[in-house]
């Protein structure tokens, strides 16, 4: 091989690669509208994108996994956190996270109401882009989603000693209501309960930890602040699922203006039987 031949190799291979690349660029453009739901890019979404850029969000967070690695990925955040939660968070992040404990905190950007609404609209649009199924498993901001790790000894006993751990077993529909409730908690309910509630003590996600729920429910019912109708722990849990705003868990990160951030749609999306199973499961946290 002489110098002229290697030069031709460089030129021809570059040209071929460039042509193929440009061809695929054209084809990608053909598919962008469908993959990105381009018809849903409303003026609100566009303004939200400008907010995203203006506040330099990408140099701490990632979106589609791109950006800086100093703060959580936000690609699917609106599927994990509702708009009321995100609004309250953006108003004052320090009410949600403690810099002493987490060692980092988002500065208060002093966003206006409209900016926040637009930004959430943008993030919601992002969460619906067809991005090849990434992430393969939800990326949580805090808490844990390790199946099985969060079971109490009592629950493990309730589903039999010689069987594999409950989380590893498919549910056939004939099990103990507690086990069925547990499966619902992680899978069936939409949004899934475990997206916002941990059952590990002291781990507050978007919603408060449900550890020790039954005994705490009794304390709440006995307290003078309680205005609901429940008489026992089961009743309290049922009431909280069906009408979340009747009793508000203390803390600015869980409610605002007398409204809980928890969706009130479960009464419609779950059957009465399923709600019974969830209650049975949650009441098992003594």
């Amino acid at each position: 091989m002489n110098k002229r031949q290697t030069r031709s190799f460089a030129l021809i291979s570059t040209a071929i690669a460039a042509v193929v690349f440009l061809g695929m660029t054209v084809d990608s453009h053909r598919q962008f509208p469908k993959l990105t739901n381009a018809q849903q890019i409303t003026p609100e979404v566009t303004r939200g994108k400008d907010v995203w850029h203006e506040y330099n969000c990408i140099n701490c967070h990632t979106l589609f996994g791109e950006g800086a690695y100093y703060a959580p990925d936000l690609t699917k955040i609106t599927q994990q956190r509702g708009a009321p939660y995100l609004t309250a968070f953006l108003k004052d992040p320090s009410k949600f996270y403690d810099e002493k404990r987490h060692r980092r905190l988002m500065p208060n950007l002093k966003l206006g109401d409209e900016e926040i609404a637009d930004l959430i609209a943008f993030l919601d649009w992002v969460s619906k882009v067809d991005n090849q199924g990434w992430p393969p498993r939800p990326i949580l901001v805090t808490g844990a989603s390790i199946p099985g790790m969060d079971l109490t000894v009592a629950q493990q006993n309730a589903t039999g000693g010689d069987q594999p751990p409950p989380a590893a077993r498919p549910v056939s529909g004939k099990e103990d209501p507690i086990a069925l409730g547990e499966a619902l908690f992680r899978t069936t309910a939409t949004p899934v309960c475990s997206a916002c509630h941990s059952i590990a003590p002291g781990v507050n996600l978007a919603g408060p930890s449900l550890a020790g729920l039954a005994s705490r429910a009794k304390q709440v019912i006995a307290s003078p602040d309680y205005k609901g109708k429940a008489k026992d722990a089961e009743g309290f849990i049922r009431e909280s699922i069906v009408t979340p705003s009747i009793y508000l868990h203390p803390g600015d990160m869980f409610s605002a203006n007398g409204m809980s951030f928890m969706p009130d749609t479960f009464v419609k999306s779950l059957t009465p039987e399923q709600i019974d199973q969830l209650v049975a499961y949650l009441a098992s946290f003594q």
């Binding site: 890019i41 589609f64 882009v129």
Partner: protein
């Protein structure tokens, strides 16, 4: 120094050195914020220090490229630069652009588009500077009437770098489409045309330092350029994972990214062989250290560590974690920072009163930087592996995981300090000797290597 106008390069290098030092200040600040809590949270938050860190990198490396080109082209074409005045105006404009951009970031002015944060007026100045630069170089070559293949590769790389910056000037309504074209600039720069620039400098340095045969070196340079582009252009696909583009980019990215190390391994073998065959004959051994170091560290940082997370089945877990920071630091330092430092080390004795023979400060600067950067790469790698396992695979929350990998951030700060010490020594060594722009035909820098190189 053989041509008077080559002295322009000194001032470009001087600006590059100052910006390099500044880049490390902001890098160390950003690293410290990983340890937290951050007392500067409301004054100088992470997003600001991080964008200044990356922007200064781009600006100083490009300043270094321009300076090195102003040094190399008169040498290769055997003639004075077309206009030194234009080169100084360009440097002034360029530096003003860089400084005002950084000041702007401090006060929150920026586009918020990763690595392309420069506001539109700054982007336009960048384009103007590049045009001035290319015009000046083009006219120099035209006047001299001698155009080598090494120059050709370098110049084509620089021109394409300017052209590929243009998509960054456009505005896209759809965020996914804007990401798509952002990579035309960023990826095709660092994994395409900048590698051409690196290859051009590498060939120049090897020919000068080892006395390797020009025909052979340039022949292989073309092979490397061909390999870079086959893999590099279609390898853009590995940035098109998970962002909302058609699915065929996934297998394509896996295949062509796997080819990318080939060119880089080729480059390292090329450099190593050139040195072996000719037996380290040039008195400026320190420059040879930087030259070979650049080729080898590129193979490690860009080639190997890139390959480590480039397959879609791996990348779906590692995407957007500190694994990317691991690859980014090692690749950019090896390929671009080190080649600029090599050109500076080679050219400096010709422009200052500095002796050609190596000094111990020079070696300390080299090994402290190398050791420090290797340690930083390992810190990011261990932190990243921990993060992927705990956060992505076990499903622990992001914030909880970051607390569990604190020890790696401590290691990062320690090794980054070591790196900064080495860089500080390099900068000190640069400014230690006053400039001396005497034109000297018998300049020892240009000494022909004692043992003439055998063919590769």
């Amino acid at each position: 120094m053989r041509y008077r106008s080559q002295s322009v390069a000194y001032w470009y290098f001087a600006v590059a050195m100052v910006l390099f030092g500044l880049q490390l200040v902001f890098g160390l600040l950003s690293a410290a914020k990983y340890l937290g809590p951050d007392p500067l949270l409301n004054l100088l938050p992470f997003d600001v220090t991080k964008s200044i860190h990356t922007n200064l990198l781009i600006v100083w490396v490009l300043t270094g490229f321009m300076g090195a080109t102003y040094w190399m082209v008169p040498d290769e074409s055997r003639g004075e630069l077309h206009s030194t005045k234009l080169a100084y105006i360009q440097l002034g404009l360029w530096t003003a652009m860089g400084v005002t951009a950084v000041l702007g970031y401090l006060f929150g002015y920026g586009t918020g588009n990763k690595l392309l944060e420069q506001p539109l007026p700054h982007k336009i100045v960048i384009v103007i500077c590049m045009l001035m630069f290319l015009y000046n170089i083009g006219m120099t070559i035209k006047k001299a009437g001698r155009f080598t293949a090494t120059e050709g590769v370098l110049l084509l790389g620089l021109t394409s770098a300017a052209v590929l910056y243009l998509p960054a000037l456009l505005h896209y309504e759809n965020y996914v489409v804007s990401i798509y074209y952002r990579w035309w600039t960023i990826h095709l720069w660092v994994e395409g045309v900048w590698e051409m620039i690196q290859g051009g400098f590498l060939a120049y340095l090897l020919i000068r330092l080892s006395g390797a045969d020009r025909e052979v070196m340039e022949k292989w340079l073309y092979v490397i350029v061909g390999l870079v582009f086959i893999a590099g252009i279609l390898g853009t696909a590995h940035h098109y994972y998970w962002i909302g583009v058609p699915h065929y980019w996934l297998p394509l990215g896996g295949f062509f990214s796997a080819l990318e190390p080939l060119a880089l391994i080729g480059m390292a073998i090329y450099a190593y062989n050139a040195m072996r065959r000719s037996g380290l004959s040039h008195p400026n051994k320190l420059a040879l250290h930087w030259t070979l170091g650049s080729a080898v560290f590129t193979m490690f940082g860009a080639g190997l560590l890139g390959l480590a997370h480039t397959f879609p089945d791996v990348n779906k877990w590692t995407h957007g974690t500190l694994i990317t920071a691991m690859h980014g630091h090692a690749a950019f330092y090896g390929a671009y920072a080190m080649i600029v430092l090599a050109m500076i080390t080679y050219a400096l004795p010709g422009m200052t009163r500095r002796p050609v023979e190596e000094s111990s400060i020079g070696y300390w600067a080299f090994w402290l930087q190398l050791g420090g950067m290797f340690g930083m790469t390992l810190s990011f790698a261990t932190a990243g592996i921990g993060q992927v396992y705990l956060e992505r695979i076990l499903g622990l929350g992001y914030l909880d995981v970051q607390l569990k990998i604190q020890v790696h951030f401590l290691m990062l700060v320690a090794t980054a300090s070591m790196f900064s010490l080495g860089a500080g020594l390099f900068i000190f060594d640069f400014f230690r000797h006053a400039p001396d722009f005497n034109v000297d035909e018998a300049d020892p820098v240009l000494a022909t290597p004692r043992a003439s190189g055998a063919a590769l």
